[in-house]
């Protein structure tokens, strides 16, 4: 089997990348999806709030996905669902299998990685105590409730104020469960402001910041009690324990890009994002392999996933076109985008300046809550650009436009992006 472009993953990232690539002349395109339907995790996100940026209206998750699935009609894109990719080699052979076609080796001219992410588990944060039933990651509980149609408990505590946890606080309340509290280790919430208001405040669900779960008790092998303590930094403070009588604990303690396949293909991984290192066109360290969406870095909004994935789709089409015409011209070595003060990561991590038309869009996250802050872009000691922001939150991804002329001013040096606390006049 042979395709010009193979897209791994049929969630929002894979769908947008495949459609945009096809539109831009990518040739034969195949989407491989491991679940039974296209749409990815959006299928279980039945609340609304998706699409405000891309479609200028509020859609539910399934509706948002359906817009892209509908566009596949007559687009000439092949789709394999219920199909698992087992391995990707650096020479872009994709090994996959399904019940119908069996074991397949698919040769690809280019690959877009769009496998999404998985949830961090109890083990990842080593919560001590009993190991009864009743402890779920928020996404697994969401699947049981919204897809399978079964409730997972009656009295609930949620650890982690990430968006899925907040959404599930509301969802379980609406299904008749009693959500006793949301507990957050950090001194700030990790969810979008609007979700705090609409999912917690509207239902009088308390949010305990700087708290964590320190023990778990069970009765007859089902969760019966969760002990929560205040923390100093990450250390629980003795004497601050609170007991919650609950039968269910939901964990919303972070998402991890699923890059096991990327690693098998030899793709360089950025330890800060746990996703691939990419350049301005979303190409990874392996020639012709691109990455986008939550497999690259965890996004807050699906709209941003769509934008990023369309960029990857266009780049994959351009890559295939250049390969066909044999017009791959020599380019200079890329410069790196480095993290300065308070910046946790940037995507992309590399830029080939001569390839940039007018500007690049840099996405980044800050490591602390910053009010009246300044974003400073430097090359060595030279300040290239500053931008003021009223507020920056770790929970909300920041976007920065770097015009070509600023990139040129770096004159081949790496660029450092920092977020400083005061609205300072940086000279």
């Amino acid at each position: 089997m042979e395709y010009d472009l193979v897209v791994i993953g049929g969630g929002p990232a894979g769908l947008a990348a495949a459609e945009e690539a096809k539109k831009n002349g990518a040739g034969s395109v195949l989407i491989i999806e491991r679940d039974r339907e296209l749409g990815g995790i959006l299928n279980q996100c039945i609340h609304s709030g998706f699409g405000l940026h891309v479609f200028k209206e509020q859609l539910t998750g399934p509706e948002y996905a359906q817009r892209f699935i509908d566009r596949l009609e007559g687009a000439g894109i092949d789709v394999m669902t219920d199909t698992m990719v087992l391995n990707i080699t650096p020479d872009k052979t994709v090994f996959a299998m399904n019940a119908e076609k069996g074991y397949m080796a698919i040769r690809a001219g280019a690959i877009v990685l769009a496998m999404g992410c998985r949830e961090r588990t109890r083990g990842a944060i080593a919560i001590p105590g009993d190991r009864p039933s009743g402890i779920f990651t928020a996404g697994t509980a969401q699947r049981y409730i919204n897809i399978e149609g079964y409730m997972v408990g009656k009295k609930v505590l949620i650890l982690g104020s990430g968006d899925i946890g907040l959404i599930m606080a509301r969802r379980m309340t609406l299904e008749g469960a009693e959500v006793k509290a949301v507990v957050e280790l950090m001194p700030y919430s990790n969810g979008l402001k609007r979700n705090i208001a609409q999912c917690l405040d509207d239902y009088n669900i308390p949010l305990y910041l700087s708290h964590t779960v320190t023990d778990i008790k069970s009765e007859n092998n089902r969760l019966s009690k969760v002990i929560v303590s205040e923390v100093n930094g990450f250390e629980p403070i003795p004497g601050t324990e609170m007991e919650f009588d609950v039968d269910t604990l939901l964990l919303s303690v972070g998402l991890i890009p699923e890059n096991e396949l990327s690693k098998s293909a030899g793709v360089e991984i950025d330890p800060r994002t746990s996703g691939a290192v990419v350049s301005e066109n979303m190409m990874t360290s392996v020639d012709g392999i691109f990455a986008c969406g939550n497999v690259l870095h965890v996004h807050d909004l699906v709209d941003f996933v769509t934008n990023e994935s369309e960029k990857a789709g266009r780049a994959a089409a351009a890559y295939l076109a250049a390969k066909k015409s044999g017009s791959a011209e020599a380019v200079e070595a890329p410069i790196h985008l480095l993290n300065g003060t308070n910046v946790g990561y940037t995507v992309p991590q590399k830029v080939t300046v001569s390839k940039v038309d007018k500007f690049i869009e840099v996405l980044f996250r800050v490591k602390a809550v910053l009010k009246d802050a300044t974003v400073v872009v430097r090359a060595g000691d030279t300040v290239l650009m500053t931008k003021t922001r009223d507020q920056m939150l770790p929970a909300e991804m920041e976007k920065l436009i770097l015009p070509r002329k600023i990139l040129d001013q770096a004159t081949g040096r790496d660029i450092i992006i920092s977020a400083l606390k005061e609205k300072s006049e940086v000279k």
């Binding site: 491991r34 219920d82 698992m84 087992l86 299998m97 399904n98 019940a99 119908e100 076609k101 069996g102 074991y103 998985r118 949830e119 588990t121 109890r122 083990g123 990842a124 080593a126 001590p128 105590g129 009993d130 190991r131 009864p132 039933s133 990651t137 996404g139 697994t140 699947r143 049981y144 409730i145 897809i147 399978e148 149609g149 079964y150 409730m151 997972v152 408990g153 009656k154 609406l174 299904e175 008749g176 469960a177 320190t214 023990d215 778990i216 008790k217 007859n220 092998n221 089902r222 629980p236």
Partner: protein, 481 residues
Amino acid sequence: MAYDVAIIGAGIIGCSLARELSRYDKKVALIEKENDVAMGTTRANSAIIHAGYDPEPGTLMAKYNVEGNRLAGELAAELNIPFERCGSFVLAFSEEDMKTVRTLYDRGVQSGVPGMEILDGEKVREMEPNLSPEVVGALWAPTAGIVNPWEFALLLAQNAVLNGVDLLLEHEVSGIEKEKDGFVLHFTDKEDVRAKYLVNAAGVESDEIAAMAGDDSFSIDASKGQYYLLDKSQGALFHHVLFQCPGPLGKGILVSPTVHGNLIVGPDANPGSARDSVATDRRGLEHVVKESRRTSAAINFRENIRNFAGIRAQPSTGDFIVGPSESTPHLYNIAGIKSPGLSAAPAIAADAAAYLVKQLGAKKKADLAIFRRAPMFKNLPEEEKAALIKENPAYGRVICRCETITEGEIVDALHAPITPRTLDAIKRRCNAGMGRCQGGFCGPRVLEIISRELGIKPEEVLLDRNGSYILTEKTNKGGDR
């Protein structure tokens, strides 16, 4: 029901003995209070087949360990139990430790452990490059290995059942009555069972069972040990079992790859623990992390996927208790089976079976059916994968993404001897849910398959032990209340 032999406890000991006895023409019951086999110490330990240099020569522990190590290799090959004879190091960090290493070496020689060598730090790091530079030398024992302990017990139990042993799950013994020719066993909520011979393999509760039968010659202390189980990214760091030299501060923390490719780190030791709790605690877990750093600073504990704890049965006598009871005729105790119990089990079972066979005048059956673990689909060559999917499309459907486990394998497990009824029972049989997402993605699908194949409601599918329900009720009821 009446049996020639009733074995109480379906851990590695009970399962090994049941399998041995199933070769003979006698009626045997394997009795277990939980809803599956291997639910106690057998499923929560270091998963090591020890070489046998550690126990004092002349003890039952030394004798059965060395012999059991050899037999484990044979059983693993016969039943396709995941087992790897990768060898072990006892790491020394000082000259004082090197003295201990030499003592262990001498013990091993006396007990008949083959192939041991004392190596210097440089040689050890050559074989394990990620070890701490503080390692000055080690005892190398090539016969040590790693095994999947619960599958070890499960395969033995499945073979026993296939050859006529009755497995009585969810049978909690509440009383034992002595009769002229044996015993009557009473249960909390099941019919009585009569047996001519009673084997007490009840693990941490074996002193209670012995006392019920009139033997109070020993007592058991529960010692809890806690572990980390890390992602395969960390399992790739090491290739052998790595013990720390035992010292005045304890037995040290073990670091070892598992047969699944993960990394296991632990245990701490908590004598005097409750018998019925395998809860972990923060202090113990922190101790494990800290002490493991002596072996290697390379382990990334952010890659942890699960913590667990297991209970060891520490006998008041200091050694394994194996043999006919001195006070109660027809009672055979196999008690206090702490480390190296997993390694010793096949040898203990052989001795116990020989005794019972002689007492009962049992005869070998003409032929024995053998149930082997099916090879994991993901490890098959490409042509075999393709052929299997053609034969049964369910092998083409991957249910567990992290471990690449197919629907075909899960369905096979559900229809093998000893029906798994819980998510964890499926995990123990075919690894679905054992990976880095810990069943987050595959849990709902495995639940659906169990419900479908066994014809039970989704709400009836449990996570693990009885009582561990997952789902409460159908949705769309919230608005009515």
